[in-house]
Amino acid sequence: MSRVIESDVCIIGAGITAAMVAERLAERTGASITIIEAGQRTASLAERTNTRARMLAYGENPYPNDHIPDQTGTGNMYRQMVVGGSAMHWGGAIPRYSPEDFRIRSLYGVGFDWPISFDDIEPYYQEAEERIGAAGEQGPEDCDPRSKPYPMPPLPLSYNLARMREWTDSAGIPFWTQPWARNTEPYRGRNVCQRCDTCAVCPTGAKYTPDFAFDQLLAQGRIDLVTRTLVRRLALEPGTDRIAAAEAVNRDAPAEPIEFRAGTFVLAGGHAWSSHLLLLSGNSRFPDGLANRTGNVGRYMTGHWYVSGFIDLPMRLYPGIFANNSLLTHRFASPGPLDRYVRHDIRLWESDVGRAPRLRNGDGSLLWGDEIMADWRERTDSGATARIRSYYDVLPDRDSRLTLDGSNTNALGDPMPRIDYRPAQTSLDLEGHTHKTIFGRFEHLARAAGGSMMSTRTSRLWEHPGGGCRMGDDPATSVVDRWGRTHDHENLFVVGAPTIVSSGCANGTLTFCALSLMAAEEMEKGLNG
């Protein structure tokens, strides 16, 4: 006999998109909200000072107990399963996608258009920035459109970045400051950034993490947060396609099942675990998994690839002033007409690569104390290093796919997810052209400073991944509609990363949040009606 917990809204997963949905619904409806999280709480803000110190000293994980050992998939996916999700560890970069990202088929004849435009999502970008607390600098309007100012002024340019921006200006490419989820003013009860430069774990609370939102909602009595509880499947109401319950177990008492009943269900499990739960929930009516009548769950897994390098600059910089701030341009994400498709961003950081202390000099001779210092000074006196990186748009193939892996099960015997990413042939055909174009721009930048490229590399790691429940107007080619509502189940929403069509060429979290707020608005209609 299951224990039953009832609410109006049941959110599965307690990451950043859950925080967005819960916060908005709590403000705009009287709905009771339950959030289920398989993981538990990790280091509190007060504890992060010491976990940060141990991370710096020993490389230790600053968020103890932030994952479940037997809940491990295969393929590129985040490790975290914890209150706050992967947005506990994030650096807090929150660029918007470019208007072109939503219309690449119409504009360039490649990939897929989204069912929404930039104008549709823009108000939700603004709302997400205000909820998170975004500090940013308005870039040129033609490649950084926005209807309202950022909630907070940008992080200050460091001495290093100011010198670097003089250089990029001389190259004729507009760069501006990366927008961040870090406070430059006291904001929503959180501190101002203190430039600790370990943003993966922020000891001051200046960086937004979802636990702050959950703590406020809990203090207000607006949510119930049920942790260490793993949802194993969603169950239908008999004879209908509505979701009736989320069937779960408390990880401390797996023999005692819990049934969460609600009028509205929200999957907020990120790019891997949302599709995974739908596939796990197959039944006689939906043998291939819920929301999967047309076989699209788990497909079009997406992300972007990158190229990067280091530039030798003939200038005096001081790496370490502010390594976690960077310069950004979206000029090439909004390129205008193209003969051949290539879109990318460029980011620049200070770096000490090639200019760090070393045990052997260029000849391989062993160095001792003063010799190490002299060798180090010689290399820092002779110039500086900039790190450069571009994310570029990679189009997913339909068979870029998350599946259930029967060879890898958790302690309950449930198969874990396996992700096999696969680019569309179009992207493979464009890869050489893409690299040549971007490296040409790197070279242009280097020459403008009188410098040179020290090294370059390419990567096929699918960064900022999403997909698996992509949105669309046509149920034959998508899983959810523009609001995140599944085509097959009118009371089941999927929010955030799984619903994206492609990953553009910018970090994805802000877009995941904006999409979640769009979905919340749609949910409100049912809850207030």
């Binding site: 710096l56 020993y58 103890p64 001495y159 203190q194």
Partner: protein
């Protein structure tokens, strides 16, 4: 206003860390860089302290750390390394690399090996020079260390991965905020909680280092 190099070496990093914002300074005193000391003194939870022979370790410090630190500066660097070593926890869960689903752990405890290396150095020194390591000149000590350091040392990465205690000591110091400031002759105070106000300006000189090396 430049500060004296002596006071910089003694106080700069700890002062910056403590003064910038409450909550940034970990529990340890952090004399040579709070963060690099791990925020702990004494053994890490669940581990038994393995102390390195202090006298020999200091003799190694005089051999492999910059003489420009002076006796006091080298003593602080060695003491900071000892605190770091005391707090080291073998087979600890490491920070997750981006988009890697598997958990990764640090390696086995290097300290028994390091302690044995220091004991071996003393034996070798007595056999070759008839004295303790601290009693022979630096050139002689480097002769003794060149072989094992040359074999073990491929770089100055994480000290806990160093194959020889002398490399670990060097790596610990040269990766510290203090060493960076000494190299540049500027108060950069990397990875300390410094506030936003000072970011835009060129870092101030460490007194005595104007124009480059101190």
């Amino acid at each position: 206003m430049p500060r004296s190099r002596r006071s910089f070496l003694k106080q700069s990093v700890a002062t910056v860390a403590a003064a910038s914002v409450a909550g940034c300074a970990p529990d340890g005193d952090g004399e040579s860089g709070a963060a690099s000391d791990g925020g702990t003194r004494g053994a890490a939870p669940g581990t038994k302290a393995i102390r390195l022979p202090a006298h020999t370790l200091r003799a190694v410090g005089e051999t492999v750390l910059p003489a420009e630190l002076g006796d006091d500066g080298r003593e602080r660097a060695v003491a900071a390394f000892e605190r770091w070593s005391d707090g080291l926890e073998p087979v600890a869960e490491l920070a997750h690399p981006y988009l890697v689903p598997e958990t990764r752990y640090s390696g086995p405890d290097p300290r028994p090996g390091w302690a044995a290396q220091l004991q071996g150095l003393e034996k070798e020194c007595r056999a070759r020079f008839g004295s303790e390591l601290g009693e022979i000149d630096v050139a002689g000590r480097r002769k003794l260390l060149a072989g094992p350091v040359g074999q073990a040392g491929t770089g100055l990465g994480s000290p806990s991965n160093a194959g020889h205690v002398a490399v670990a000591l060097m790596a610990h110091f040269f990766r510290s905020p203090t060493a960076t400031d000494l190299c540049y002759g500027r108060v950069i105070a990397k990875q300390q909680c410094r506030g936003l106000d000072g970011a835009l300006g060129e870092p101030v000189h460490v007194a005595g280092s104007e124009g480059g090396a101190p």
